[in-house]
Amino acid sequence: GIQVEQSPPDLILQEGANSTLRCNFSDSVNNLQWFHQNPWGQLINLFYIPSGTKQNGRLSATTVATERYSLLYISSSQTTDSGVYFCAALTQGGSEKLVFGKGTKLTVNP
């Protein structure tokens, strides 16, 4: 089945810094989603992005489907950005299930 790899596994930033999180996937996918898992365990949908670039405030994401990767940019990071960021690929055919990467744990220090 499809493999989803995320890097880096851990990232520590000072408040105000910018960061880029990467997601590689091994096969063609129907779609790609980015999630933020907050300290309470909730999965918050950030972007649903099969290709191209989307922006939402300080966050933006770019997916290059032909090269099988997606990037999540966080600018001017805040302590509330801390948590685990997951990317997940929506598989082709079948039941449209999501295959998750292992996540990037982001810690933003004040």
Binding site: N31, Q33, F35, W40, G41, Q42, L43, N45, Y48, F86, A88, L90, G94, S95, E96, K97, L98, V99, F100, G101, K102, G103
Partner: protein
């Protein structure tokens, strides 16, 4: 904005007991799912449900697990005889053209 609602938020159960995790997905979505996340690990697919039947299930989803949509709104996951290794966060989700919406999860602790 429509939400996926899960209850309870946290459940503690003794090994060997049956548990039922409940979800109310977004009503006009077509696909419904259960996913599981063992503490500190990635989120894993358990089962998908479409048109009132299971469309796909993972290796994790063995005979101890079952799903139902008994009344057209609720969507339940039952674990018949819980094991210690069933301790995890269980997420319900539904899918439409704009992507997945996840519930806030049920943290199951088996003691």
């Amino acid at each position: 904005e429509p939400e996926v609602t899960q209850t309870p938020s946290h459940q503690v159960t003794q090994m060997g007991q049956e548990v039922i995790l409940r979800c109310v997905p977004i009503s006009n979505h077509l696909y419904f799912y259960w996913y599981r996340q063992i503490l500190g690990q990635k989120v894993e697919f358990l089962v998908s449900f479409y048109n009132n039947e299971i469309s796909e299930k993972s290796e994790i989803f063995d005979d101890q697990f079952s799903v139902e949509r008994p009344d057209g709104s609720n969507f339940t996951l039952k674990i018949r005889s819980t094991k210690l290794e069933d301790s995890a966060m269980y997420f319900c989700a539904s899918l439409e053209i704009y992507g997945y919406t996840f519930g806030s999860g049920t943290r199951l602790t088996v003691v």
